[in-house]
Protein backbone atom coordinates (compact mmCIF):
# COMPACT_ATOMS: atom_id res chain seq x y z
CA UNK A 1 0.00 0.00 0.00
CA UNK A 2 1.07 3.57 -0.52
CA UNK A 3 0.61 6.42 1.90
CA UNK A 4 0.61 9.16 -0.67
CA UNK A 5 -3.07 9.55 -1.45
CA UNK A 6 -3.74 12.59 0.70
CA UNK A 7 -1.56 15.33 2.17
CA UNK A 8 -1.91 13.69 5.60
CA UNK A 9 1.17 11.62 4.93
CA UNK A 10 3.45 14.23 3.45
CA UNK A 11 6.80 14.41 5.10
CA UNK A 12 7.07 17.25 7.53
CA UNK A 13 9.05 20.00 5.85
CA UNK A 14 9.91 23.38 7.28
CA UNK A 15 6.54 23.92 8.86
CA UNK A 16 5.21 26.53 11.21
CA UNK A 17 4.26 25.52 14.74
CA UNK A 18 1.54 26.80 17.02
CA UNK A 19 2.35 27.60 20.64
CA UNK A 20 0.71 24.27 21.61
CA UNK A 21 2.95 22.13 19.38
CA UNK A 22 4.92 20.50 22.20
CA UNK A 23 1.70 19.88 24.16
CA UNK A 24 0.32 17.94 21.18
CA UNK A 25 3.49 15.87 20.85
CA UNK A 26 3.48 15.13 24.58
CA UNK A 27 -0.04 13.72 24.17
CA UNK A 28 1.22 11.42 21.41
CA UNK A 29 -0.63 13.19 18.60
CA UNK A 30 -0.05 12.10 15.01
CA UNK A 31 1.21 15.30 13.41
CA UNK A 32 0.78 16.30 9.77
CA UNK A 33 1.55 19.20 7.49
CA UNK A 34 -1.66 21.21 7.16
CA UNK A 35 -1.25 24.21 4.88
CA UNK A 36 2.33 24.75 6.04
CA UNK A 37 1.55 24.16 9.71
CA UNK A 38 2.61 21.15 11.80
CA UNK A 39 -0.77 20.18 13.27
CA UNK A 40 -2.32 17.19 15.11
CA UNK A 41 -4.54 15.07 12.83
CA UNK A 42 -5.57 12.75 15.68
CA UNK A 43 -4.42 11.84 19.19
CA UNK A 44 -5.97 8.35 19.29
CA UNK A 45 -9.03 7.16 17.38
CA UNK A 46 -10.35 9.89 15.07
CA UNK A 47 -13.83 8.36 15.24
CA UNK A 48 -13.80 8.50 19.07
CA UNK A 49 -12.74 12.14 18.87
CA UNK A 50 -15.64 12.83 16.51
CA UNK A 51 -18.18 11.19 18.84
CA UNK A 52 -16.84 12.99 21.90
CA UNK A 53 -17.66 16.35 20.27
CA UNK A 54 -21.15 15.23 19.19
CA UNK A 55 -21.99 13.70 22.57
CA UNK A 56 -19.97 15.62 25.16
CA UNK A 57 -17.09 18.04 24.55
CA UNK A 58 -13.79 18.16 22.67
CA UNK A 59 -11.25 20.82 21.83
CA UNK A 60 -9.11 21.78 18.85
CA UNK A 61 -5.98 23.90 18.56
CA UNK A 62 -6.86 26.32 15.76
CA UNK A 63 -4.09 28.81 16.48
CA UNK A 64 -2.92 28.47 12.89
CA UNK A 65 -5.95 30.52 11.83
CA UNK A 66 -5.31 34.19 11.15
CA UNK A 67 -6.84 36.98 13.24
CA UNK A 68 -6.98 40.37 11.52
CA UNK A 69 -8.41 43.50 13.13
CA UNK A 70 -9.87 46.24 10.92
CA UNK A 71 -9.63 49.56 12.73
CA UNK A 72 -10.47 53.06 11.59
CA UNK A 73 -13.13 55.65 10.91
CA UNK A 74 -14.21 53.91 7.71
CA UNK A 75 -13.97 50.31 8.95
CA UNK A 76 -17.66 49.67 8.26
CA UNK A 77 -17.66 51.22 4.77
CA UNK A 78 -14.48 49.33 3.92
CA UNK A 79 -15.91 45.94 4.95
CA UNK A 80 -19.14 46.72 3.07
CA UNK A 81 -16.91 47.13 0.01
CA UNK A 82 -14.64 44.10 0.49
CA UNK A 83 -17.11 41.44 1.74
CA UNK A 84 -20.03 39.83 -0.13
CA UNK A 85 -22.14 39.70 3.02
CA UNK A 86 -23.12 43.03 4.57
CA UNK A 87 -21.63 44.06 7.93
CA UNK A 88 -24.50 46.56 8.25
CA UNK A 89 -26.48 43.53 9.48
CA UNK A 90 -24.30 43.64 12.59
CA UNK A 91 -25.91 46.06 15.02
CA UNK A 92 -25.33 44.38 18.39
CA UNK A 93 -21.83 44.55 19.87
CA UNK A 94 -20.06 41.19 19.51
CA UNK A 95 -22.34 39.85 16.78
CA UNK A 96 -20.64 37.68 14.13
CA UNK A 97 -21.28 37.22 10.41
CA UNK A 98 -20.02 34.59 7.95
CA UNK A 99 -18.96 35.99 4.58
CA UNK A 100 -17.03 35.32 1.40
CA UNK A 101 -14.40 37.73 0.18
CA UNK A 102 -14.57 37.82 -3.63
CA UNK A 103 -12.31 39.01 -6.41
CA UNK A 104 -13.66 41.15 -9.28
CA UNK A 105 -14.69 38.01 -11.20
CA UNK A 106 -16.66 36.79 -8.13
CA UNK A 107 -14.12 34.02 -7.44
CA UNK A 108 -13.84 33.24 -3.74
CA UNK A 109 -10.57 34.55 -2.26
CA UNK A 110 -11.50 33.23 1.18
CA UNK A 111 -14.39 32.62 3.55
CA UNK A 112 -14.23 34.21 6.98
CA UNK A 113 -16.01 35.25 10.14
CA UNK A 114 -16.31 38.96 10.93
CA UNK A 115 -17.10 40.14 14.46
CA UNK A 116 -18.58 43.59 15.16
CA UNK A 117 -16.74 45.30 17.99
CA UNK A 118 -18.03 48.80 17.22
CA UNK A 119 -18.52 51.02 14.15
CA UNK A 120 -14.78 51.65 13.90
CA UNK A 121 -13.46 48.24 14.91
CA UNK A 122 -14.13 44.79 13.48
CA UNK A 123 -12.27 41.50 13.87
CA UNK A 124 -11.83 38.99 11.05
CA UNK A 125 -10.83 35.34 11.42
CA UNK A 126 -9.54 34.01 8.10
CA UNK A 127 -8.07 30.68 6.97
CA UNK A 128 -4.47 29.75 7.68
CA UNK A 129 -3.65 28.50 4.19
CA UNK A 130 -4.80 31.77 2.57
CA UNK A 131 -3.13 34.15 5.04
CA UNK A 132 -0.64 35.84 2.72
CA UNK A 133 -3.00 36.49 -0.18
CA UNK A 134 -5.78 37.60 2.20
CA UNK A 135 -3.59 40.20 3.89
CA UNK A 136 -2.29 41.42 0.51
CA UNK A 137 -5.85 41.70 -0.83
CA UNK A 138 -7.16 43.44 2.29
CA UNK A 139 -4.27 45.95 2.08
CA UNK A 140 -4.85 46.57 -1.63
CA UNK A 141 -8.57 47.15 -1.18
CA UNK A 142 -7.91 49.50 1.75
CA UNK A 143 -6.59 52.24 -0.55
CA UNK A 144 -8.86 55.27 -0.29
CA UNK A 145 -10.39 54.12 3.01
CA UNK A 146 -9.42 55.46 6.40
CA UNK A 147 -8.65 52.03 7.90
CA UNK A 148 -5.72 50.06 9.28
CA UNK A 149 -5.31 46.31 8.69
CA UNK A 150 -3.81 44.89 11.88
CA UNK A 151 -2.86 41.23 11.87
CA UNK A 152 -2.60 39.71 15.36
CA UNK A 153 0.01 36.93 15.00
CA UNK A 154 0.69 36.59 18.73
CA UNK A 155 -2.79 35.33 19.59
CA UNK A 156 -3.60 31.64 20.05
CA UNK A 157 -7.01 30.13 19.34
CA UNK A 158 -8.70 27.11 20.91
CA UNK A 159 -12.11 25.81 19.80
CA UNK A 160 -14.05 23.98 22.53
CA UNK A 161 -17.05 22.26 20.97
CA UNK A 162 -19.89 20.01 22.04
CA UNK A 163 -23.05 20.09 24.17
CA UNK A 164 -20.96 20.37 27.37
CA UNK A 165 -18.51 22.97 26.03
CA UNK A 166 -19.99 26.06 27.67
CA UNK A 167 -20.32 24.53 31.13
CA UNK A 168 -16.67 23.39 30.99
CA UNK A 169 -15.22 26.63 29.62
CA UNK A 170 -16.99 29.40 31.54
CA UNK A 171 -15.52 28.64 35.00
CA UNK A 172 -11.99 28.65 33.53
CA UNK A 173 -12.20 32.07 31.90
CA UNK A 174 -10.84 35.21 33.59
CA UNK A 175 -13.51 36.16 36.13
CA UNK A 176 -15.79 38.71 34.49
CA UNK A 177 -15.39 37.18 31.08
CA UNK A 178 -16.72 33.84 32.36
CA UNK A 179 -19.95 35.51 33.46
CA UNK A 180 -20.29 37.34 30.15
CA UNK A 181 -19.53 34.22 28.09
CA UNK A 182 -22.29 32.29 29.89
CA UNK A 183 -24.80 34.88 28.61
CA UNK A 184 -23.83 35.39 24.96
CA UNK A 185 -26.12 34.12 22.23
CA UNK A 186 -25.00 31.84 19.36
CA UNK A 187 -22.84 33.61 16.79
CA UNK A 188 -21.87 36.37 19.23
CA UNK A 189 -18.71 37.20 21.12
CA UNK A 190 -17.53 38.91 24.29
CA UNK A 191 -14.03 39.94 25.34
CA UNK A 192 -11.86 41.26 28.10
CA UNK A 193 -8.36 42.53 27.42
CA UNK A 194 -6.80 40.18 24.87
CA UNK A 195 -9.19 37.33 25.70
CA UNK A 196 -11.96 37.02 23.13
CA UNK A 197 -14.72 34.38 23.29
CA UNK A 198 -17.01 33.70 20.31
CA UNK A 199 -19.95 31.30 20.50
CA UNK A 200 -19.03 29.98 17.09
CA UNK A 201 -17.47 26.86 15.63
CA UNK A 202 -16.95 24.50 12.74
CA UNK A 203 -18.61 21.33 14.03
CA UNK A 204 -22.39 21.87 14.05
CA UNK A 205 -22.38 21.75 17.86
CA UNK A 206 -22.67 24.46 20.49
CA UNK A 207 -19.39 25.77 21.85
CA UNK A 208 -16.82 28.51 21.91
CA UNK A 209 -13.84 29.62 19.88
CA UNK A 210 -11.49 31.31 22.32
CA UNK A 211 -8.81 33.72 21.16
CA UNK A 212 -6.23 34.37 23.86
CA UNK A 213 -2.65 35.58 24.36
CA UNK A 214 -0.10 32.96 23.29
CA UNK A 215 1.56 32.88 26.70
CA UNK A 216 -1.76 31.86 28.31
CA UNK A 217 -2.63 29.16 25.77
CA UNK A 218 -0.79 26.15 27.19
CA UNK A 219 -2.03 26.75 30.74
CA UNK A 220 -5.60 27.13 29.52
CA UNK A 221 -5.27 23.97 27.34
CA UNK A 222 -4.03 21.96 30.36
CA UNK A 223 -6.85 23.29 32.57
CA UNK A 224 -9.37 22.19 29.95
CA UNK A 225 -7.85 18.69 29.91
CA UNK A 226 -8.08 18.59 33.73
CA UNK A 227 -11.83 19.27 33.65
CA UNK A 228 -12.34 16.48 31.11
CA UNK A 229 -12.21 18.18 27.73
CA UNK A 230 -10.66 15.76 25.21
CA UNK A 231 -8.15 17.08 22.68
CA UNK A 232 -9.28 16.32 19.11
CA UNK A 233 -7.33 16.57 15.87
CA UNK A 234 -7.97 18.11 12.50
CA UNK A 235 -9.19 14.73 11.23
CA UNK A 236 -12.25 14.83 13.48
CA UNK A 237 -12.68 18.53 12.71
CA UNK A 238 -12.99 17.57 9.03
CA UNK A 239 -15.63 14.84 9.54
CA UNK A 240 -17.57 17.08 11.95
CA UNK A 241 -17.70 20.02 9.54
CA UNK A 242 -18.63 17.69 6.66
CA UNK A 243 -21.58 16.30 8.64
CA UNK A 244 -22.56 19.85 9.62
CA UNK A 245 -22.59 20.96 5.97
CA UNK A 246 -19.80 23.50 6.31
CA UNK A 247 -17.55 24.23 3.35
CA UNK A 248 -13.77 23.90 3.49
CA UNK A 249 -11.80 26.50 1.56
CA UNK A 250 -9.46 24.95 -1.02
CA UNK A 251 -11.66 21.88 -1.36
CA UNK A 252 -15.27 23.02 -1.73
CA UNK A 253 -14.42 26.41 -3.20
CA UNK A 254 -11.48 28.50 -4.32
CA UNK A 255 -10.80 31.48 -6.59
CA UNK A 256 -12.06 29.61 -9.66
CA UNK A 257 -15.50 29.14 -8.05
CA UNK A 258 -18.20 31.65 -7.13
CA UNK A 259 -20.59 31.50 -4.15
CA UNK A 260 -23.66 30.52 -6.23
CA UNK A 261 -22.06 27.21 -7.30
CA UNK A 262 -20.63 26.58 -3.82
CA UNK A 263 -23.82 26.45 -1.77
CA UNK A 264 -23.12 29.92 -0.41
CA UNK A 265 -25.95 31.96 -1.99
CA UNK A 266 -27.26 32.63 1.52
CA UNK A 267 -24.07 34.49 2.41
CA UNK A 268 -24.38 37.04 -0.40
CA UNK A 269 -26.22 40.24 0.61
CA UNK A 270 -27.84 41.56 -2.63
CA UNK A 271 -29.71 44.27 -0.74
CA UNK A 272 -29.40 47.19 -0.39
CA UNK A 273 -29.00 47.60 -4.13
CA UNK A 274 -26.85 50.69 -3.66
CA UNK A 275 -24.08 48.71 -1.94
CA UNK A 276 -21.49 47.76 -4.52
CA UNK A 277 -19.15 45.09 -3.07
CA UNK A 278 -16.17 43.64 -4.93
CA UNK A 279 -17.39 40.91 -7.31
CA UNK A 280 -21.04 42.04 -7.26
CA UNK A 281 -21.27 42.96 -10.97
CA UNK A 282 -19.75 39.64 -12.05
CA UNK A 283 -22.03 37.76 -9.68
CA UNK A 284 -25.12 39.56 -10.98
CA UNK A 285 -24.18 38.59 -14.54
CA UNK A 286 -23.75 34.96 -13.46
CA UNK A 287 -27.12 35.06 -11.70
CA UNK A 288 -28.79 36.39 -14.87
CA UNK A 289 -27.52 33.45 -16.92
CA UNK A 290 -29.05 31.06 -14.36
CA UNK A 291 -27.04 28.08 -15.60
CA UNK A 292 -24.78 27.71 -12.60
CA UNK A 293 -23.92 24.32 -11.24
CA UNK A 294 -25.62 23.36 -8.02
CA UNK A 295 -23.99 22.40 -4.71
CA UNK A 296 -25.58 19.31 -3.14
CA UNK A 297 -25.09 16.69 -0.45
CA UNK A 298 -24.71 12.99 -1.28
CA UNK A 299 -25.27 9.87 0.79
CA UNK A 300 -23.70 6.69 -0.55
CA UNK A 301 -26.27 3.88 -0.58
CA UNK A 302 -23.67 1.19 -1.40
CA UNK A 303 -20.61 0.32 0.65
CA UNK A 304 -17.47 2.32 0.08
CA UNK A 305 -16.19 5.82 0.78
CA UNK A 306 -16.90 8.99 -1.18
CA UNK A 307 -13.80 11.16 -1.68
CA UNK A 308 -13.02 14.52 -3.21
CA UNK A 309 -12.62 14.51 -7.05
CA UNK A 310 -14.73 11.39 -7.67
CA UNK A 311 -17.06 11.81 -10.65
CA UNK A 312 -20.82 12.14 -10.15
CA UNK A 313 -22.85 10.68 -13.02
CA UNK A 314 -26.43 11.95 -13.55
CA UNK A 315 -29.23 9.91 -15.13
CA UNK A 316 -28.79 11.76 -18.45
CA UNK A 317 -25.07 11.03 -18.44
CA UNK A 318 -24.03 14.56 -17.46
CA UNK A 319 -21.27 14.74 -14.89
CA UNK A 320 -20.37 16.57 -11.71
CA UNK A 321 -17.64 16.25 -9.13
CA UNK A 322 -17.38 15.53 -5.42
CA UNK A 323 -15.62 18.38 -3.62
CA UNK A 324 -15.37 16.85 -0.13
CA UNK A 325 -16.25 13.35 0.91
CA UNK A 326 -15.64 10.92 3.69
CA UNK A 327 -17.05 8.64 6.31
CA UNK A 328 -19.70 10.00 8.65
CA UNK A 329 -19.16 8.46 12.10
CA UNK A 330 -22.61 9.64 13.24
CA UNK A 331 -24.49 8.13 10.28
CA UNK A 332 -22.07 5.20 9.84
CA UNK A 333 -22.02 5.66 6.09
CA UNK A 334 -20.24 7.77 3.56
CA UNK A 335 -21.36 11.34 2.77
CA UNK A 336 -20.11 14.09 0.49
CA UNK A 337 -20.61 17.52 -1.04
CA UNK A 338 -20.67 17.75 -4.83
CA UNK A 339 -20.85 20.40 -7.53
CA UNK A 340 -23.27 19.09 -10.16
CA UNK A 341 -25.45 20.22 -13.11
CA UNK A 342 -28.61 21.88 -11.77
CA UNK A 343 -30.94 19.28 -13.32
CA UNK A 344 -29.74 16.51 -10.97
CA UNK A 345 -32.55 14.27 -9.69
CA UNK A 346 -33.00 12.52 -6.36
CA UNK A 347 -30.38 9.86 -7.09
CA UNK A 348 -27.14 9.59 -9.03
CA UNK A 349 -24.14 7.31 -9.52
CA UNK A 350 -20.63 7.82 -8.25
CA UNK A 351 -17.59 6.45 -10.06
CA UNK A 352 -15.46 4.79 -7.39
CA UNK A 353 -12.38 3.17 -8.95
CA UNK A 354 -14.27 2.45 -12.16
CA UNK A 355 -17.40 1.01 -10.51
CA UNK A 356 -20.65 3.00 -10.49
CA UNK A 357 -22.20 3.12 -7.00
CA UNK A 358 -25.64 4.41 -6.01
CA UNK A 359 -26.00 7.66 -4.10
CA UNK A 360 -28.91 9.76 -2.86
CA UNK A 361 -28.98 13.52 -3.43
CA UNK A 362 -29.81 15.59 -0.32
CA UNK A 363 -29.34 19.06 1.12
CA UNK A 364 -25.71 19.45 2.18
CA UNK A 365 -26.42 19.41 5.91
CA UNK A 366 -26.32 16.01 7.54
CA UNK A 367 -25.96 16.42 11.32
CA UNK A 368 -26.58 19.38 13.65
CA UNK A 369 -26.63 19.48 17.47
CA UNK A 370 -26.11 15.73 17.62
CA UNK A 371 -29.19 15.01 15.44
CA UNK A 372 -29.20 13.50 11.95
CA UNK A 373 -31.00 15.98 9.63
CA UNK A 374 -31.70 13.64 6.71
Amino acid sequence: MVFACRPFFENIKMTKKTILNSAHRELGARMVDFGGWDMPVNYGSQIDEHHTVRQSVGMFDVSHMTVVDINGLQAKAYLQHVLANDVAKLTRQGKALYSCMLNEAAGIIDDLIVYFLDEKNYRLVVNASTRDKDIAWLERQAKGFDVKINEKPTLAMIAVQGPKARQKVCPLLPERLGLAAAEIKPFSACWHGEWFVGRTGYTGEDGFEIILPEDKAEGFWRQLIEVGVNPCGLGARDTLRLEAGMNLYGQDMDESKHPLESGLNWTVAWEPEARNFVGKQALLAIKEQANSDKFVGLILEDKGVLRGHQTVVLEDGAQGEITSGGYSPTMERSIAFARVPANIGKTCKIDIRGKLKDARVVKPCFVRQGEVQI
Binding site: M1, V2, F3, R6, F9, V41, G235, Y327
Partner: protein, 129 residues
Amino acid sequence: MSNIPDDRKYADSHEWALLEADGIVRVGITDHAQELLGDLVFVELPEVGQQVAKGDECSVVESVKAASDIYSPVTGEIIAVNTDLEDGPEAINDSAYEDGWIFTIRPSDVTELDDMLDADGYQNLTEDE
Protein backbone atom coordinates in the same frame (compact mmCIF):
# COMPACT_ATOMS: atom_id res chain seq x y z
CA MET B 1 6.97 0.60 18.27
CA SER B 2 4.50 -2.20 17.91
CA ASN B 3 5.46 -5.84 18.18
CA ILE B 4 6.30 -7.36 14.78
CA PRO B 5 5.71 -11.15 14.63
CA ASP B 6 8.76 -13.07 13.35
CA ASP B 7 6.71 -15.94 11.85
CA ARG B 8 6.03 -14.08 8.57
CA LYS B 9 7.47 -11.88 5.83
CA TYR B 10 6.90 -8.20 5.07
CA ALA B 11 6.72 -5.99 1.98
CA ASP B 12 8.12 -2.47 2.03
CA SER B 13 4.59 -1.43 1.01
CA HIS B 14 3.45 -2.61 4.49
CA GLU B 15 1.70 -5.91 3.74
CA TRP B 16 2.54 -9.06 5.70
CA ALA B 17 2.53 -12.59 4.21
CA LEU B 18 2.32 -15.71 6.39
CA LEU B 19 3.09 -19.12 4.84
CA GLU B 20 0.78 -21.59 6.55
CA ALA B 21 1.23 -25.36 7.02
CA ASP B 22 -0.99 -26.21 4.03
CA GLY B 23 1.15 -24.12 1.65
CA ILE B 24 -1.38 -21.27 1.55
CA VAL B 25 -0.20 -17.68 2.11
CA ARG B 26 -2.29 -15.43 4.36
CA VAL B 27 -2.04 -11.65 3.70
CA GLY B 28 -2.82 -8.54 5.72
CA ILE B 29 -1.38 -5.11 6.53
CA THR B 30 0.98 -4.37 9.38
CA ASP B 31 0.16 -2.80 12.69
CA HIS B 32 2.39 0.12 11.71
CA ALA B 33 0.31 0.59 8.54
CA GLN B 34 -3.03 0.57 10.37
CA GLU B 35 -1.63 3.09 12.84
CA LEU B 36 -0.67 5.44 10.00
CA LEU B 37 -4.02 5.00 8.30
CA GLY B 38 -6.15 5.57 11.39
CA ASP B 39 -9.65 4.15 11.86
CA LEU B 40 -10.50 1.75 9.02
CA VAL B 41 -14.02 2.19 7.61
CA PHE B 42 -14.12 0.05 4.43
CA VAL B 43 -12.24 -2.81 2.81
CA GLU B 44 -12.70 -3.70 -0.86
CA LEU B 45 -11.89 -7.42 -0.96
CA PRO B 46 -10.58 -9.33 -3.98
CA GLU B 47 -12.70 -12.05 -5.63
CA VAL B 48 -12.21 -15.66 -4.62
CA GLY B 49 -10.69 -17.52 -7.61
CA GLN B 50 -9.09 -14.34 -8.98
CA GLN B 51 -5.57 -14.80 -10.41
CA VAL B 52 -3.10 -12.19 -9.23
CA ALA B 53 0.55 -11.50 -9.94
CA LYS B 54 3.07 -10.37 -7.34
CA GLY B 55 2.71 -6.60 -7.01
CA ASP B 56 -0.84 -6.42 -8.39
CA GLU B 57 -3.28 -4.04 -6.71
CA CYS B 58 -5.86 -6.53 -5.54
CA SER B 59 -7.63 -4.90 -2.61
CA VAL B 60 -8.24 -1.44 -1.15
CA VAL B 61 -8.41 -0.41 2.48
CA GLU B 62 -10.06 2.89 3.30
CA SER B 63 -9.66 4.74 6.57
CA VAL B 64 -11.22 7.97 7.76
CA LYS B 65 -8.24 9.67 6.14
CA ALA B 66 -7.39 7.90 2.90
CA ALA B 67 -7.78 5.00 0.51
CA SER B 68 -4.74 2.75 0.09
CA ASP B 69 -4.10 -0.07 -2.38
CA ILE B 70 -3.02 -3.47 -1.15
CA TYR B 71 -0.47 -5.20 -3.39
CA SER B 72 -0.35 -8.97 -3.61
CA PRO B 73 2.97 -10.14 -2.14
CA VAL B 74 3.01 -13.27 -4.33
CA THR B 75 1.64 -14.64 -7.62
CA GLY B 76 -1.22 -17.12 -7.39
CA GLU B 77 -4.94 -17.66 -6.93
CA ILE B 78 -7.10 -16.01 -4.25
CA ILE B 79 -8.48 -18.86 -2.11
CA ALA B 80 -10.44 -17.00 0.57
CA VAL B 81 -11.27 -13.46 1.66
CA ASN B 82 -12.04 -12.21 5.16
CA THR B 83 -15.74 -11.39 4.81
CA ASP B 84 -15.86 -10.32 8.48
CA LEU B 85 -14.15 -7.13 7.32
CA GLU B 86 -17.22 -6.16 5.26
CA ASP B 87 -19.11 -5.19 8.40
CA GLY B 88 -16.15 -4.89 10.76
CA PRO B 89 -13.17 -3.26 9.03
CA GLU B 90 -11.97 -2.08 12.44
CA ALA B 91 -10.69 -5.64 13.02
CA ILE B 92 -7.60 -4.44 11.13
CA ASN B 93 -7.08 -1.67 13.71
CA ASP B 94 -7.67 -4.03 16.62
CA SER B 95 -5.79 -7.09 15.35
CA ALA B 96 -3.73 -6.38 12.22
CA TYR B 97 -1.78 -9.67 12.39
CA GLU B 98 -4.62 -12.07 13.34
CA ASP B 99 -8.35 -11.26 13.00
CA GLY B 100 -7.58 -8.46 10.53
CA TRP B 101 -6.18 -10.72 7.76
CA ILE B 102 -7.52 -9.72 4.34
CA PHE B 103 -7.14 -12.70 1.95
CA THR B 104 -5.37 -16.01 1.42
CA ILE B 105 -3.63 -17.00 -1.78
CA ARG B 106 -2.32 -20.30 -3.25
CA PRO B 107 1.14 -19.25 -4.43
CA SER B 108 2.41 -20.53 -7.76
CA ASP B 109 6.01 -19.93 -6.65
CA VAL B 110 6.55 -19.92 -2.92
CA THR B 111 10.15 -18.73 -3.31
CA GLU B 112 8.77 -15.27 -4.10
CA LEU B 113 8.47 -14.91 -0.33
CA ASP B 114 12.26 -15.10 -0.03
CA ASP B 115 12.58 -11.62 -1.59
CA MET B 116 10.51 -10.09 1.21
CA LEU B 117 11.75 -8.55 4.46
CA ASP B 118 11.90 -10.48 7.73
CA ALA B 119 10.65 -8.95 11.00
CA ASP B 120 13.99 -7.23 11.71
CA GLY B 121 14.20 -5.86 8.19
CA TYR B 122 10.69 -4.46 8.43
CA GLN B 123 11.41 -2.99 11.85
CA ASN B 124 14.39 -1.14 10.33
CA LEU B 125 12.25 0.08 7.47
CA THR B 126 9.62 1.59 9.75
CA GLU B 127 12.26 3.22 11.92
CA ASP B 128 13.77 4.91 8.88
CA GLU B 129 10.44 6.37 7.79
